[in-house]
Symmetry: C2
Subunit: 205 residues, 2 copies
């Protein structure tokens, strides 16, 4: 009994993991496509192909579904950041991160949450995985920002926290949506335009 139990458990857990991955993937897509308020739990269930009640066995609320999607994207960000060369110039790594964010957004994979929803905010703050990820990302980017400022690559007059927020805000930049809707520019062009305005500004140099 004791010898087989772990194997069966592990298999069960793997199935569970796969199912939850499918759920989170669906949530991520729907959050990117229509946002939190317009996304319904029925839709999520339908997309995954399970009953709504089953969803609630995995996640206790709609807010927790959204939080799981945010944890997922935060993990991806951490993976990307950790894969960047430590020996590269901090400014280059920061540009690479912003480019990654824009590409995720342009691919329709960036979940978007309403910034004013308080119950959602509470759920996120209570979510340890999310907060840990957010803090690690902030620390990594913050270190690069200060290094780039010390090297004279980023404007030293700007508070580092303001620069950090400016990067985070690219994940919900309406300019990307406006340009994408217009249909005049390719995804690559949009990426370069937003990167240019972000780092170089609108004024001539």
């Amino acid at each position: 009994m004791n010898s087989v139990a772990p194997v069966k458990l592990s298999f069960k857990q793997r199935m569970l993991q796969v199912r939850e991955d499918a759920i989170i993937h669906a949530v991520n897509r729907l959050l990117a496509e229509k946002g939190f308020d317009a996304m319904t739990v029925d839709e999520v269930a339908a997309q995954v192909g399970i009953a709504k009640a089953s969803l609630y066995k995995h996640f206790p609320s709609k807010e927790d579904l959204a939080a799981a999607a945010m944890v997922r994207v935060m993990r991806r960000a951490q993976d990307f950041i950790n894969a960047l060369p430590a020996e590269a110039a901090p400014l280059d790594n920061l540009r690479a991160v912003v480019r990654w964010v824009l590409q995720v957004k342009l691919a329709g994979d960036m979940p978007s949450l309403p910034s004013q929803n308080s119950s959602l905010r509470a759920t996120l703050i209570d979510n340890r995985d999310y907060m840990d990820g957010l803090m690690e990302v902030s620390d990594r980017l913050g270190a690069w920002i200060e290094a780039a400022q010390a090297q004279g690559h980023l404007n030293p007059a700007l508070p580092a926290i303001a620069i950090l927020y400016t990067f985070f805000a690219r994940a919900c930049d309406s300019v990307v949506e406006f340009l994408q809707m217009g249909g005049l520019f390719s995804d690559e062009q949009i990426t370069e335009l937003v990167l240019s305005t972000c780092f170089d500004g609108l004024r001539a140099r």
Copy 2:
């Protein structure tokens, strides 16, 4: 009869106008505070101090309420733009407009709509006042943008439309909310920080 009718009508219309102004003002505040989805028609009615059914005598739907608020803010933008000196440098006028947008936002007077809601978008597109205002604002700013580019003040390599969208996007810039939430900066500091990153970029000059 004919001699008094216009007076009575005008008085009635003035009362109507005042009432509708109060409604739109409440909608504007609620849209700025909680956004379209979280705002309920009951709340609007309660804030104005009238019954919900009376609201629907003035505006046929929640979407039309929001559209009226957008028309209002667009009118304010037009008024501000028209008051700017024609002889000033285009770049200065553009900076003034962006500063105005940030101040309205920081004062909690900038209504925010979900960019993905299709019924709302349809209502806005069908709203002549809104579309006319939007186009006039775009034309005025567009002319200044092109002039500033010709003078070498704005980066000529950027498409004018991308610059215009970058300005519009300041009305829903999450950086403002992030910085405001942190509580480390005054409204004036936030305004100058965002203006700086917008026009001068993050990189050192």
